[in-house]
Amino acid sequence: MASQVLAGINNDLIARSWIASARAYGTEPYHKEETEEIVTFSFRPSFSEKEWFSPASKSSFGEIKMNRDQFPCMRSIGNDVDATVNEAFLKTLELLTSPRTSFCDVVKMVVDGRRHKRIVFTGHSSGGATAILATVWYLETYFKKQSPLPVPEPLCVTFGAPLVGDYVFQHALGRENWSRFFVNFVARFDIVPRLVLARKASTEKALPHVLRQLDPTRPPIQENDQSIAEFYKTVMKDTATVAHQAVCELIGNGEAFLETLSSFLELSPYRPAGTFVFSTGTRLVSVNNSDAILQILFYASQSSNEHELSLVPYQSIRDHHSYEELVQSMGLRSFTHLDLHNLLLDGEAALSDLGLSTRARQCVRAAMDAEKKRVDNQSKVEAKRPKILEKLKWLEEEYKPRCRTHKNGYYDSFKFSLEEHDFRANVTRAELAGIVDEVLGLVKKGQLPDDFEGQRDWIVLATRYRRLVEPLDIANYHRHLKQEDTGPYMLKGRPNRYKHAQRGYEHDRMKAGVEIEGASCGSCFWAEVEDLQGKPYGEVEVKVKELERLLQGWINEGEVDHEQIFLEGSTFRNWWNSFPEDHKRYSPLRELMSETRAT
């Protein structure tokens, strides 16, 4: 299939993946195949319900948050939430990566050998879920960090896999530019990808029976099995609710009624991630917009008439076994990549083959429009960059030097705000806050492209902004004695725009392999000083020493401007001077203090 969307993936690779997936059926805990260029790891599916929904899980959809230490990238930076995944699938991964199996060691050998261009993780059904999580594990373990030698790119190919993670999971993959590694094949009616969109409580009873039917090693299903029809209906009903709610939220105008209604509903958190390739009789249709895929998952399973409706429930089981055939006939099928340009409301054979009605196309289009809007928002944000730069430049090149000549530094100058230029700096601070808050608002609402937060130049700009302007906010806070009625800056007063900038910076450093020490950061230096000064030395001695120790690192990193803080009239210097002689003599800052005084 010739498509830029699935770059580097050809029919042969997919066929190979399928064969490996099928071979994994009887193999614990993984199956490995190797060619010149590619190593394939495939995972067996399970048709026992406890491997679909963890029996211990009390949550309505068997979900659990990912562990941040283990998967530091799988979270939202803007909202500071970890991704949610299916607990049972995560457990399978934990077993796979535990020392009891050779998996980790074998992968390490492959990476270290560097002979292969690509590692493929693949699986059918719940084996696909394992493949997805194994890929995430690989990305976090080997691919995330910048490495001097090339690390093999992973690829995850699944066939009829259930959804694994939530919106944050999908968003995080997008931010790290990892979504491109995931390709999921879904036969039009296959019930498995829709299964976790239903509440556990409503599917629980019939699930063991249905899973037995889904197991390809068992005899084929009875066409008159009423429980299958019921099960199909139950799953699709909840899928309908999820899809409708999602699209109403996407295009609606924040109607109050929708909000009330949603508080009465239990909605599945799972969302599609990566590229989905839907197959119909003669065609393959690929989509990589998660919202659009969700709509297609619902609408493509609708029937056009009563007769079809009586057959579809069984088709939804049979389609789960159709991937062998799909792979074999792949060369014969036409391939369409769905985007806004070919999303006509009428006509278009690819859409008709998927059974998408006018209403369905509208919803898919709405989802894609939303992505377009996110891109538009980004260019609007980009357009503000010169303004931000101009203001930062004024602070850096005019305000700061001018304050230096006053011998107390810009922190103190701003705090006392005696001069006209201090007032102007305050205006600049507030204007910058306005712009940055606006961007942050878009980030938090998911109204910028997923990869926005991962962009290097924004991280750099946000860091520069944080280092330069946060001291002004701290000065403002203490100028108005907010610490008295609101509480310490670090606990109560720190604006989200700085917390967010810090998270982005730390995330970036983490990927560069740098661990950041301490919970606080250098731009909050003044907040620490304000918090400690005025308290008797004896009480805060330990904290003072800790601060002095961290300060050197902050200066080296560029977090704190050493040209400003040591100035003659600065709060910090005055405070330091009040320390007992003994402390000063052994202080790591002793030299810095005397050096700056000399200049």
Partner: protein
């Protein structure tokens, strides 16, 4: 004679004092620096909290489509900040249609079929049914009242002794009182008692507390009234509440409908109405709809959520005659709850490739009408209008942050004026300067004051008319921005009142009397109360607040000045002891109140400037006390005597 009013005065002072502290302390905690609303030297700096960032994002997103205009420079003075451009943008084309999608969403949920099932049980048993289905408590009311008993309206508060106090009244006084159907109201008391005893206990074990009140026909109207009663208690219910009615007749008059939407309660009501059912639209000249209406046919459904569009739909349906008359809701509920299984293709020939138009056409078809048919055409217009009405608030709200940023210079101007007065050697705060002098600076500040007042009046008017999103006034950004505006600007309004208006013969009474206080401040007070910030731990101030925490402090002082003057001038006569005792009590009340504020440093520096009118008053009082000497005790004795 003076006794009742003096007691009242004391209460007022105490209450004001209590509220004053609370409001103020809270007012300044969370920060006002939101979306550049605060280039403000004395702003406390706190987080632009999430709610705000979200609001801004929503605003940007909504505005993004049509406008390339970036947000105007904060400090560039923009004269017409509520320009007409915002109005034209409201009419911008809507890209997608949601009324049918909303209905499809509703019909795919368990709420839809479960509430009907219980309604049906109540209909059969002719008694109230309560059941817990998957963690949601359903309460269904039977239609015990006959349709023929309906039709008489009766005012709500007369009978219910203020039970519906949560319903907010109109700011304009010419609106008739909210009224409901007399027969339904009569049935309320009995169902309430039963309801209460049953619900509380059943809710106990549930983690998420959710109640659905439902009913068919007149049972639906009763359900709606109970729901309304619960929602309009002084403190809102501790559980989520949704009222779903099936074929319910209309409950009340137009005032009731507006009061419900003004009180932001309409979104708790969903009225399911078959297009063939006449009961929901009988009496629709006297009675008005409220809440979301889900009109359905056997083909599908459409949600409309503003009263005008619902009424229009009633009219359209009234003109269509005949066709199948299935009044059986069971049929619709079960047919439609399985509707999601089948795709519905467009029947009426060529479909527009414009998503919105196609959506509207589909919606019309879902009600069983053809877009070629005249009724279908009217229906199409009706749905289009509804979409516009629905969308308008969002677009308007998107404009507001920009307008707020535009009036920022005016606020900065007042702030700057205040600070320079405090720093000046004249030792006279901005209130007193404005009250006493008229010079160029003062005139400019007055213009800033007027500009801000115009802006806030326009915002409040939009809120009052429901032209803004339902939760607009609860958005933290607006609560804080309005509160901060009030604290800074109301003293100036008081100053101008006493300087220009008070001496005029046509002005009756003081600032705080006879509706002299601008309504915007009354409303802002209310928002603040509604926002329900929990009071946090209070730390003692070490410096005077940046704005006096009771915005009416100066108005109270003006009254106190008058009392003391009267006392001083008439002190020799001693004729009207009762009057004097009353005055004295008021003076002591104010002295105590002001003293507490000052001690807590809840006043700004202008109050305690050496020459401020407050300090002058304190000095006068001290002098007076000295002069009268033991006389004071006499007053106190008199007061005591009067009380016993």
């Amino acid at each position: 004679m003076g006794k009742p009013s003096s007691t009242k005065q004391a209460t007022v002072v105490v209450a004001a004092l209590a509220f004053g502290w609370l409001a103020i302390e809270l007012a300044f905690k969370p920060f006002l620096e939101k979306f550049r609303s605060s280039i403000d030297k004395s702003d406390p700096t706190k987080d632009p909290d999430d709610a705000d960032a979200e609001a801004v994002a929503a605003a940007i997103a909504a505005a993004a489509k049509s406008s390339d205009e970036s947000i105007p420079k904060t400090l560039s003075l923009c004269e017409d900040y509520y320009s007409s451009s915002s109005r034209s943008r409201v009419m911008e084309e809507c890209r997608y249609e949601t009324s049918e999608l909303q209905a499809s969403l509703m019909m795919s949920t368990p709420l839809w079929s479960d509430s009907w099932t219980l309604c049906n049980a109540a209909n059969c048993a002719r008694s109230i049914q309560i059941q817990n289905i998957a963690g949601i408590i359903y309460v269904a009311l039977p239609p015990v009242i006959k349709m023929t008993e309906l039709g008489d309206l009766v005012a709500l508060e007369v009978i219910q002794k203020g039970n519906f106090s949560g319903l907010s009244t109109s700011l304009s006084s010419d609106e008739p009182p909210p009224m409901v159907d007399a027969a339904i109201l009569k049935g309320l008391e009995s169902s309430l008692a039963l309801f209460h005893s049953q619900i509380t206990q059943r809710l106990q074990p549930e983690e998420k507390k959710r109640v659905v009140i439902t009913g068919h026909s007149t049972g639906g109207a009763q359900a709606a009234l109970i729901a309304l009663w619960l929602l309009s208690q002084p403190s809102p219910p501790s559980f989520h509440l949704l009222c779903i009615t099936f074929g319910s007749p209309l409950l009340g008059n137009q005032s009731l409908s507006s009061a419900i939407s003004r009180s932001r309660l309409a979104h708790n009501f969903c009225h399911v109405v078959s297009i063939y059912d006449l009961a929901p639209r009988s009496n629709d000249d006297l009675f008005w709809p409220f809440g979301t209406y889900l009109f359905c046919s056997e083909n599908g459904g459409v949600c409309l959520d503003n009263a005008a569009s619902v009424r229009r739909m009633f009219q359209i349906l009234n003109t269509t005659t005949g066709t199948p008359h299935i009044e059986e809701y069971r049929h619709y509920v079960f047919t439609l709850s399985d509707q999601f299984l089948k795709s519905r293709s467009f029947l009426g020939g060529n479909i527009s490739d414009n998503s919105y138009k196609a959506g509207v056409e589909l919606a019309v078809e879902s009600l069983g009408f053809s877009t070629d048919h005249p009724s279908g055409v009217s229906m199409k217009e009706c749905i289009e209008t509804a979409t516009r009405i629905r969308r308008a608030p969002v677009l308007r709200a998107a404009e507001l942050p920009i307008q707020l940023a535009n009036v920022l210079p005016s606020r900065l101007d007042i702030q700057w004026f205040k600070e320079s007065c405090e720093a000046s050697p004249n030792q006279l705060g901005y209130y007193d300067v404005s009250r006493q002098y008229s010079n160029q600076r003062e005139i400019k500040v007055n213009m800033s004051r007027a500009k801000l007042a115009r802006f806030w009046d326009s915002v409040l008017e939009m809120v009052e008319k429901n032209e803004l999103p339902f939760d607009f006034h609860l958005g933290k950004k607006w609560v804080y921005a309005s509160q901060f505006y009030q604290l800074l600007a109301e003293p100036l309004d008081i100053a101008y009142f006493y300087k220009y208006k008070f001496p005029l013969p046509e002005t009756s009474g003081h600032y705080l009397e006879n509706g002299n206080r601008p309504k915007r401040y009354v409303v802002i007070d209310k928002w603040w109360k509604q926002s329900g910030e929990p009071q946090k731990e209070k730390r003692a101030r070490t410096r005077y607040a940046s704005a006096t925490q009771d915005p009416c402090f100066w108005a109270k002082l003006e009254e106190a000045k008058e009392w003391l003057n009267e006392m001083r001038s008439g002190s020799s006569s001693g004729s009207d002891a009762e009057r004097r005792a009353l005055l004295w009590r008021k003076i002591v009340g104010f002295e105590k109140y002001a003293d507490t504020l000052v001690k807590r440093m809840d006043v700004s520096a202008d109050v305690v400037a050496t020459k401020s009118s407050y300090m002058v008053w304190v000095e006068n009082l001290r002098e007076f006390k000295n002069r009268v000497g033991n006389g004071i005790e006499m007053f106190v004795d008199e007061i005591d005597a009067m009380e016993t």
